[in-house]
Amino acid sequence: MREERSDMSEDDDGGGEEKDSWAPGLGVAGKSRGAPDPLPPPLCDQVLENVIENVLQFLSSRRDRNAASLVCRSWYRAEAQTRRELFIGNCYAVSPRRAIDRFRCVRSLVLKGKPRFADFGLVPVGWGAHFSPWASAMAAGYPWLEKICLKRMSVTDDDLSLLALSFPFFKGLTLICCDGFSTAGLAVFAEKCRHLRLLDLIEDYFEEEEYEVVDWISKFPQTTTSLETLGFDCLLSAVNFEALEALIARSPALRQLRVNHHVTVDQLRRLMVLAPQLTHLGTGSFRSPEEGEGMEHEAHLVSAFAASRSLVSLSGFREVAPQFLPAIYPVCSNITFLNFSFAEITAEELKPVIRHCHNLQNFWVLDTVRDEGLQAVAATCKDLRELRVFPLDATEDSEGFVSDVGLTAISDGCRKLQSILYFCQRMTNKAVLTMSKNCQELVVFRLCIMGRHLPDHHTGEPMDEGFGAIVMNCKKLTRLAVSGLLTDKAFGYIGKYGKSIRTLSVAFAGNSDMGLRYVLEGCPKLQKLEIRDSPFGDAALLSGIHHYYNMRFLWMSSCKLSHRGCEDVARRLPHLVVEVIRDRPEADDEAVEKLYMYRSLVGRRNDAPPFVKIL
């Protein structure tokens, strides 16, 4: 499950299903894609095609499949017939109709909607990414569909109902950062989807009033279920616990269970006893509402964990009472993923736990553990691949509990590190440089110095050299997020050395158009570029004309763009959808507050709200 999750966040592939060879000169027509062949191929070719189909069905990587589809028409058809998983990185880049016309036998759909900055409130409500048109089209075109994974889409209760009723073989639904649905929709879905194996709700938005909440857990079939994964840790409302307990009891195939913060530690223990075969557990609140009954609870909890011999992933700990933490010791040496990012624990509380976690590969934690806690991680977790350090106080003036010291410790101890997300208030070029040298496996480097424009804490210099070292030394780097005081020089480094970079996030950085130009001219693999509050203007925007068809999207907000510049781009690149988003409908400035542009095979969308102007 975590594999799938990181897959979603790290754009691991170039191009979607049809876009590998966009070249401005050739345009779409020159690629013999789009409408299927009017005449069937001759018999000998059909035999050959069958052979190819049999071979191609073993290809799973979509990048390989995209390449195969370009060989010739025969391979194109064969590949289209055998593609089982369809990945669409931007729901507006292609229409449901086109997708269904080309790929006839899809069993699994992955669909992404809003730009990532929507997570931080930069995209007004109602912008789009509605799942409904896709739901209806899929219902008609893919009756044998089994799995759907949506990220940042608006999904209604009606959509959920349609899914449950339209797909008799439906097995799995994953919703990540989606909104628009409620427990009422979940109830219909649970009830109608008789062979469901997976329902995973990850960081979705719920806006129900308390009186609107429906007891959806009770709606699952009363017979033995096929459930393997059930995750609802983001659900705001409590579920019917007795019904949940009964559901777990009749779900022998259950391997992953993630409950929300309403589930107490005692309730958790009861669930664990019913499902000792779990591999992934979201532990809910991990506290007991009653004080003073501690000792007995703790002993039972320890034995519940001791009996769960298959656990490899732990999360939850939403309101963790530290006295219950020792209960997880029996499983620590087996776990590879530990999510403490909602647990307000200190270094002292972390140390006895982390000491046991020799096999930890993915660790998410709150900065309350401080540099000292990170030092303990570095001392034990030699196999660590991914670290995320979140701030307890996510404001730019917050104190910040971790610093360059923690980063250096991690880089010294965890040489296999591939991915890091680090929120802090104090950082130095030296620490970043050290990490660039020690952690040669880095694929994802996201450093967020929360105070805007903060320089190197020791030298007072910009953070240019640190980030420069990262792009220079980490040859495998594909995703980068920069912060702190940065001049155009940093972007010069990125443009010069960041040849593998696919995703770049920029905020409050740079001095002039040159910064953006360096990146657009220097990074051939760039696909996703999101920029906010940086002084890049029209000239910089125009410098990327040669590259925009190769990208999934460009987001620029609070920069120095004007309508004229954006119109210029729109005019020169007809297959690019250029959206100007206005925060205040009354404003009609020449200045462009928010720009979101993306390539598309189907031109401007027809569901844009009034505050979106498509140039």
Partner: protein, 180 residues
């Protein structure tokens, strides 16, 4: 009508945090220009403690922000710092929402409302004609739930207590006619 000196003639009494001479430019950080290339570092450090929070920075999902009980209060305060309030106009079929924090004062607010509701002939400002056309008053609901006339208190005080706006027309508005 409006005092030339300040947005609503009350500029001197306007409650603000920040050093004299610094503007509330930080509130408009989500508008066109960033600060970094204009202000020096030191000034940034000095004003950092008093800056209004920028939308969406640091980049943490609201799901996470709302997950910490102690922090939830702050997160809600932050959401309030975005200062979106509903605006209803008597007779209009639907409501609007505006972000009070983008306006610098009452004059801008009036203009914004004027623009927003002009399709409902709000633009026929009776105050200009001296009484012809429909009369209106801009009122708001404050923290205590009371209906108040917009314009009495200093701007900063107003935006911190305003929960929603209501544009009253016709007979209800008579006697509450705005002085500004």
């Amino acid at each position: 009508m409006e005092d030339v000196k300040g947005s609503d003639g009350l500029g001197d009494t306007e409650l603000r945090l920040g050093l004299p001479g610094t503007s509330t430019a930080t509130r408009s950080a989500k508008r066109a220009l960033p600060e970094g290339d204009e202000e020096s570092h030191d000034e940034l450090r000095r004003t950092s403690a008093t800056k209004a929070q920028v939308v969406g920075w640091p980049p943490i999902r609201s799901y996470r922000k709302n997950s910490f009980p102690a922090r939830k209060v702050e997160a809600e305060a932050e959401a309030a710092a975005g200062l979106y309030v509903k605006v209803s106009m008597d007779g209009a079929p639907f409501l609007r929402k505006i972000d009070l924090s983008v306006y610098k004062g009452y004059k801008e607010l009036r203009e914004g409302l004027d623009n927003m509701f002009k399709c409902f002939s709000f633009g026929e400002l009776s105050r200009r004609e001296g009484g012809s056309g429909s009369e209106y008053a801009i009122t708001y609901e404050d923290k205590d739930g009371d209906l108040m006339l917009v314009g009495d208190v200093p701007w900063e005080m107003f935006i911190s207590s305003c929960k929603r706006l209501r544009i009253m027309k016709g007979s209800e508005a008579r006697g509450l006619e705005s002085r500004h």
